[in-house]
C-alpha cells in the first residue's frame, strides 16, 4: 500500500461512524454499554507513531483488533511529539474500532481543546479521556511553553457542560446540537497525598467523569487500600473504575519505570524477579507478572474493567488478554456500532 488513503481504509468491512444523538450520555459508546450491562470491560492503549507512518498505525491496529471494547489513543505521550490522538482515533473509527480519544491540558488552551472536542464529535468518536498531561520538561521539547490553561478537572467539567447543557466554557450556546461523549478521567492511586486521591476522584465525578482509568498497578496492596476507600465513599456506584495493568518487557524497563517515571510505584520484588533471567525469560516474566496483578485486581470490589497499557509492546496484549480469559470480548445484543471482529 502506498498512499495514506488506501492504508486508512479498513481491511474488513468498516462500520459507518454512528450518527450523534444529543442527550444520549455516551449511548453510542460500546465501552459505556458493556459497563452498563454489568460486564467486565477491557480497554487497550494504542500509541501513535512519532513519524507520519500510516502503516505503523495500521499494524498496531491489526495486532490489537478485537481485544478491547475501546482503544485509548495517547496524546503526545510522555510529552514527546507524536501523530495526534484525534487523527489516529479517526482512523480507528474508519476501521470500525472504537477509540477513546485522549486530551491533555498541556498542549492546548480551552479554545484548542473545545475545537478538538467538536472535531472528535464530528467524526462520531464516542469516548474521551481528560488528563493534565506529563510536563514538557520530561519530553523531547523541554524548551516549549506548557499551556495548562485549565486543569483536568475543569476539562472534564467543560466536556460535561458541552454535552449536557450544550454550552461552551464561556457560557455561550453551542449551535444546532451538543456533542455526545462518554467521559473518562484518570487517577493515580499511588502518588501522594494518598488520603486525598479518593477525594480528588470524587471531584472528577462531580465534574462529570463517568469512567476512571488508573495508573499502572504493580503495588496491589496499595491499590486495594485505595479501592477500599473509594468503595467506602460509595464512588464505585457512580463511576466505572478500570484498573491499569501492563506487561513490562525487561528488567531495564522495570528499573526505568521504578526510578525515572514520576508517579509510578514498581515494587522491588518485581525487579528482583526479573533480574538474572535471559531476555526471553524476562519478557515472559513480564507477561506473567501482569497477568498475576490483573487476576488480583479484577477481584477487588469496585473494579469494573481493565485498562491494558503495553508501552511500546503491543504484541504482548493478545497473550495477556488470552491468558486472562478476556478474549473474545462479549457480544452485546442490538449493537448499533458493531465492532468488526478479526477474520481469523
Amino acid at each position: 500500500m502506498s498512499g495514506a488513503t488506501s492504508t486508512v481504509a479498513a481491511p474488513a468491512a468498516p462500520a459507518e461512524p454512528a450518527p450523534i444523538q444529543t442527550g444520549l450520555n455516551g449511548a453510542n459508546s460500546r465501552l459505556a454499554r458493556v459497563l452498563r450491562a454489568g460486564k467486565f470491560a477491557v480497554c487497550v492503549e494504542i500509541s501513535p507513531p512519532v513519524g507520519p507512518n500510516p502503516e505503523a498505525i495500521q499494524r498496531e491496529m491489526n495486532t490489537l483488533r478485537g481485544y478491547a471494547e475501546a482503544y485509548n489513543v495517547t496524546d503526545n505521550q510522555s510529552a514527546m511529539v507524536h501523530v495526534s490522538s484525534l487523527a489516529v482515533s479517526i482512523m480507528l473509527m474508519q476501521a470500525g474500532m472504537e477509540p477513546v480519544v485522549q486530551f491533555t491540558c498541556r498542549d492546548r488552551n480551552r479554545l484548542g481543546l473545545q475545537g478538538d472536542l467538536l472535531s472528535a464529535s464530528v467524526f462520531g468518536i464516542p469516548n474521551v479521556l481528560a488528563l493534565s498531561g506529563d510536563h514538557p520538561i520530561w519530553g523531547d521539547h523541554p524548551q516549549c511553553k506548557a499551556v495548562y490553561d485549565i486543569d483536568s478537572t475543569n476539562l472534564i467539567r467543560v466536556i460535561r457542560m458541552m454535552r449536557d447543557n450544550q454550552v461552551f466554557e464561556n457560557g455561550k450556546q453551542i449551535p444546532r446540537r451538543a456533542p455526545d461523549f462518554f467521559i473518562g478521567a484518570v487517577e493515580n492511586p499511588f502518588a501522594p497525598p494518598f488520603d486525598y486521591r479518593p477525594i480528588r476522584l470524587a471531584k472528577k465525578v462531580v465534574a462529570g467523569a463517568q469512567f476512571i482509568q488508573t495508573q499502572l498497578v504493580y503495588n496491589v496492596p496499595r491499590f486495594r487500600e485505595f479501592m477500599k476507600r473509594v468503595v467506602d465513599m460509595g464512588l464505585h456506584e457512580q463511576v466505572y473504575i478500570l484498573a491499569g495493568v501492563g506487561p513490562i518487557r525487561s528488567v531495564r524497563v522495570a528499573e526505568y519505570m521504578a526510578n525515572q517515571v514520576a508517579g509510578m510505584d514498581v515494587p522491588e520484588s518485581i525487579i528482583k524477579r526479573m533480574q538474572g533471567l535471559s531476555k526471553e525469560d524476562q519478557a515472559k516474566a513480564g507477561i506473567d507478572i501482569c497477568c498475576e496483578v490483573a487476576d488480583e485486581v479484577r477481584q477487588i470490589e469496585g473494579v469494573k474493567g481493565l485498562h491494558i497499557m503495553a508501552v511500546a509492546w503491543p504484541a504482548a496484549v493478545p497473550e495477556v488478554a488470552k491468558n486472562l480469559g478476556l478474549y473474545p470480548r462479549p457480544e452485546l445484543e442490538d449493537d448499533p456500532v458493531a465492532e468488526a471482529q478479526p477474520a481469523g
Binding site: 459497563l35 495548562y148 486543569d151
Partner: protein
C-alpha cells in the same frame, strides 16, 4: 524557605491575618467600586505583592486560593493546577518537575486541615480568568470578581456531592 515553611505549617496566625484583611477589604468595597477594579488594583497591588510575595511566593493570578489551600499558593505548581495534585507527584511528596520542591498540593492539603477551611479541599475550583492576571486579588476578592463560575454553572460545587454521607445526593448511574 524555612521561615515561610514555619508559618505555613502553623497556619492559624496566617488564617487569622487573612480573615482580618478580608473583613477590611469587604468594608472597603464601596471605595473599590467607585474607583473601579483597575485603578483600585494600582493602589492595592504594591503592598499586596510585597506581603504575599514574601510570605507565599504569590504568582499574581488575582484569583486567590491561598486560604482554601492551607495558605499555600497552588500557582507555584508548574502545571498551575487548581484542583489538587497531578498524578506525577513523587513517592516522597516532591514535585515531578522540580525535584527539590515539595508538591504545593501535598503541603496545602496537609495544612488546610489545621484551619477552619478544611472542607475547601473538596471544592471544585473554576479555571483561572487570565484577564485578571496582575490585578490585586484583594480587590478582585472585595468586588467578587474572583473564583467565578465556568460555562453554565454558577455557584460553588463540592466533591462531597458524590461521597456517601457527604452533603449532596448521589448520582444514579455513572
Amino acid at each position: 524557605m524555612p521561615i515561610r515553611d514555619y508559618w505555613q505549617d502553623r497556619p492559624a496566625g496566617l488564617v487569622w491575618t487573612w480573615e482580618a484583611t478580608a473583613a477590611l477589604l469587604r468594608w472597603m468595597r464601596p471605595v473599590f467600586e467607585k474607583l473601579g477594579m483597575e485603578r483600585s488594583s494600582k493602589i492595592v497591588k504594591p503592598p499586596e505583592e510585597l506581603v504575599k510575595g514574601v510570605l507565599f511566593n504569590c504568582q499574581n493570578c488575582a484569583q486567590c486560593l491561598l486560604h482554601y489551600n492551607g495558605m499555600t499558593c497552588p500557582m507555584n505548581c508548574p502545571k498551575q493546577l487548581r484542583n489538587g495534585p497531578c498524578g506525577g507527584v513523587r513517592l516522597n511528596g516532591k514535585c515531578e518537575v522540580k525535584p527539590e520542591m515539595d508538591c504545593v498540593w501535598v503541603l496545602g492539603i496537609k495544612r488546610v486541615q489545621k484551619t477552619p477551611y478544611a472542607k475547601e479541599m473538596y471544592r471544585l475550583n473554576p479555571p483561572v480568568d487570565w484577564r485578571l492576571e496582575g490585578q490585586a486579588s484583594w480587590v478582585t476578592y472585595a468586588l467578587e470578581r474572583d473564583l467565578i463560575s465556568t460555562g453554565s454553572e454558577t455557584g460553588v460545587r463540592y466533591a462531597t456531592e458524590a461521597i456517601r454521607g457527604g452533603n449532596g445526593s448521589q448520582k444514579e448511574d455513572a
